[in-house]
């Protein structure tokens, strides 16, 4: 008996969390899938009516914009944050005197709620108030930075604010990774006369694979859930040029009383996440265990 217990303790310890995730994540996904097949409006209904919500969804130009934006925003946000984070981490790793202060400065945006920093960014990027006005007042009359008011560029303005918020956290993850690399190996490489950039690209960075996984998951999750940011910064505008699936879904479910439509958008969105994240997870986890 005790032996059986001993053998199964690990599973039993994991079980409660796993069951909770099964119910409150996967159960709810199934629930959402069900509701997406109904004509639920103000409140969820459970009478299945077929795929009409999906037809409506794909007929909506606003949803097209939201999906395009997800790819633009998600790709740029994750890419730039990873590169900038790694870059800053490498710079900070050069035995900098004021490292503590700089680190805190790069990191603090994560601590602030976007409800209000969004307003600050809105002012900064507003051509009449912020950067453009300031630079022009210095005498550079032709300087233009009006992304936030340009429907074609506004999504990039959102990327800037999002990178601002998350890249410091990524920097911290990478800095931690850099510090954990065995100095002996690096010293040995230096003795062999291998140039520094090769040491970074061939030894240090590849050794940080688990950190890339953490950083990717953190960033991808932020990208998909970016909601507060868009609401506070652009409100989805100009027009609905910066709408994202998360804001679309929220608008449908809670401002418009169209829960069936919201559920169908959620299902499509999760399908997208699934096709991107699962192969990545698979390759990452396989590499580690085979």
């Amino acid at each position: 008996m005790t032996e059986w217990l001993e053998r199964h303790v690990p599973k039993m310890v994991l079980a409660p969390s796993f069951v909770a995730v099964l119910i409150f994540v996967y159960g709810f996904i199934i629930w959402t899938g069900w509701v997406s097949l109904t004509r639920s409006k103000l409140m969820p209904k459970y009478e299945i009516k077929g795929f009409i919500q999906y037809d409506r969804l794909f007929a909506s130009p606003r949803w097209d914009t939201a999906m395009d934006n997800l790819f633009i925003f998600g790709g740029l946000f994750i890419g730039i944050s990873l590169i900038l984070g790694l870059f800053l981490a490498i710079l900070l790793d050069q035995k900098i005197r004021a490292e503590g202060a700089l680190r805190t400065i790069y990191l603090y945006p994560m601590a602030l709620s976007m409800i209000v920093t969004g307003t600050a960014w809105k002012w900064i990027m507003n051509p009449g108030l912020g950067i453009e006005a300031t630079v022009r007042s210095w005498g550079f009359e032709s300087f233009t930075f009006n992304w936030i008011t340009d429907p074609n560029m506004a999504i990039y303005a959102v990327v800037i604010a999002a990178v601002w918020q998350a890249s410091g956290f990524v920097m911290a993850l990478f800095l931690a990774g850099l510090r954990s690399v065995d100095e002996e190996i690096i010293k040995a490489a230096q003795v062999d006369g291998i140039p520094t950039w090769r040491i970074y690209s061939a030894i240090i960075i590849p050794s940080m694979a688990p950190i890339f996984l953490s950083a990717f998951i953190v960033l991808a999750h932020l990208a998909i859930k970016s909601f507060d940011l868009v609401i506070a910064l652009t409100g989805g505008g100009p027009g609905y040029a910066t709408d994202l699936p998360a804001t679309y879904m929220y608008a449908m479910a809670f401002s418009r009383g169209d829960i069936g439509q919201a559920a169908s958008s959620a299902m499509v969105m999760m399908g997208v996440v699934f096709t991107i994240v699962v192969p990545y997870l698979y390759s990452e986890l396989r590499a580690k265990h085979d």
């Binding site: 001993e6 303790v9 690990p10 599973k11 310890v13 994991l14 995730v21 409150f24 994540v25 996967y26 709810f28 629930w31 959402t32 790793d93 050069q94 035995k95 900098i96 700089l102 400065i105 790069y106 603090y108 945006p109 994560m110 601590a111 602030l112 709620s113 409800i115 920093t117 307003t119 600050a120 002012w123 912020g130 911290a172 931690a176 510090r179 954990s180 690399v181 010293k187 230096q190 520094t196 950039w197 694979a209 950190i211 953490s214 998951i217 953190v218 999750h221 998909i224 859930k225 909601f227 879904m249 929220y250 479910a253 559920a263 959620a266 999760m270 699962v278 698979y282 986890l285 580690k288």
Partner: protein
């Protein structure tokens, strides 16, 4: 790129190195300015009078510094019919955040330990399922969760909020701990087992003592997320249990009222003070976090 050798060699102070060093500092300084810009706007706005904001530029130094907005935001501004500022809501947030962070971190540590060190068939699948759970948009779970909380009798209460935050925090805490523990050689566990140590004994006396750094990372991550959460806070609270973000939102997001930007900004900074404090104080450990001596990537 030769400046990089400095981290590993005694620096040879020659001219080109000095230039590179300068370049490095100005680059870091430029980025620092980028990161500080919004904070600058927020702080200067919070120190202006409403009169000055209405007539002057929003992005400029205050002509006259006043701390009125800070006092108003903390204890006087209206967040509904109560005009007691953010103060009463702070305690709700603490009551919610501290247990939620503690429980989620503990569960994550144990889960990560099992998945990384006690591999069994399907452990990787379970880990993947939990990870994927991190991606579920919170807007999706709002309504079924509301129903579930009603059934559990936790609706509108702080334990209900704790419950929700723990459930949706497990994925991340497990990820962090698993990625940390997976780098600890499994020989350690095997050797301990040979010595007759059990599951919990090994966790308690070998892994936990090694975990301080990752605990700090996890706590910071969880603390920030839970403290700053608005969606769950607004949906699963009722009068008397609303967290500080809901109060902040009530101050900031008036639709047809007169906007007091100085109070908004002061309130935002005040509401963020606990997280800011955590970052400043624990930031050092945060970096040491994944760095810990015993961990080699």
């Amino acid at each position: 790129m030769t400046d990089f050798t400095q981290s590993y060699d005694a620096p040879r102070r020659n001219y080109s190195q000095l230039v590179l060093r300068w370049l490095l500092f100005s680059l870091l300084g430029l980025f620092a300015l980028f990161y500080l810009m919004p904070l600058f706007v927020m702080v200067t706005t919070s120190l202006k009078s409403l009169e000055e904001i209405r007539t002057g530029s929003l992005v400029a130094l205050p002509r006259e510094v006043t701390f009125d907005a800070w006092r108003t935001a903390w204890s006087e501004t209206c967040t509904g019919v109560k005009c007691e500022g953010l103060k009463p809501y702070f305690w709700n947030s603490v009551l919610m955040t501290v247990p939620a962070v503690f429980i989620a971190t503990l569960l994550g540590a144990v889960n990560g330990y099992v998945i990384a060190q006690w591999r069994f068939k399907g452990a990787n699948l379970i880990f993947s399922l939990m990870l994927f759970g991190c991606f579920i948009p919170f807007q999706v779970v709002l309504l079924p969760m509301a129903r579930s909380l009603g059934i559990l009798g936790l609706a509108g209460s702080i334990p209900g909020l704790i419950f929700v935050h723990v459930i949706y925090g497990i994925g991340f805490t497990t990820l962090f701990f698993r990625n940390y523990y997976v780098t600890i050689p499994s020989e350690l566990t095997k050797a301990a087992k040979v010595d007759g140590a059990g599951f919990f004994r090994i966790f308690w006396s070998i892994f936990l003592p090694l975990s301080l750094p990752i605990v700090v990372v996890t706590v910071i991550w969880q603390f920030t997320n839970i403290w700053n959460d608005f969606l769950f806070g607004v949906s699963f609270s009722q009068a008397g249990t609303q967290p500080v973000t809901v109060a902040l939102n009530n101050i900031v997001n008036s639709t047809t009222g007169v906007k007091e930007y100085n109070v908004d900004m002061a309130a935002a900074i005040i509401a963020a003070l606990p997280t800011l404090l955590v970052y400043v104080v624990a930031g050092k450990y945060f970096i040491r976090g994944l760095t810990a001596g015993s961990v080699k990537g």
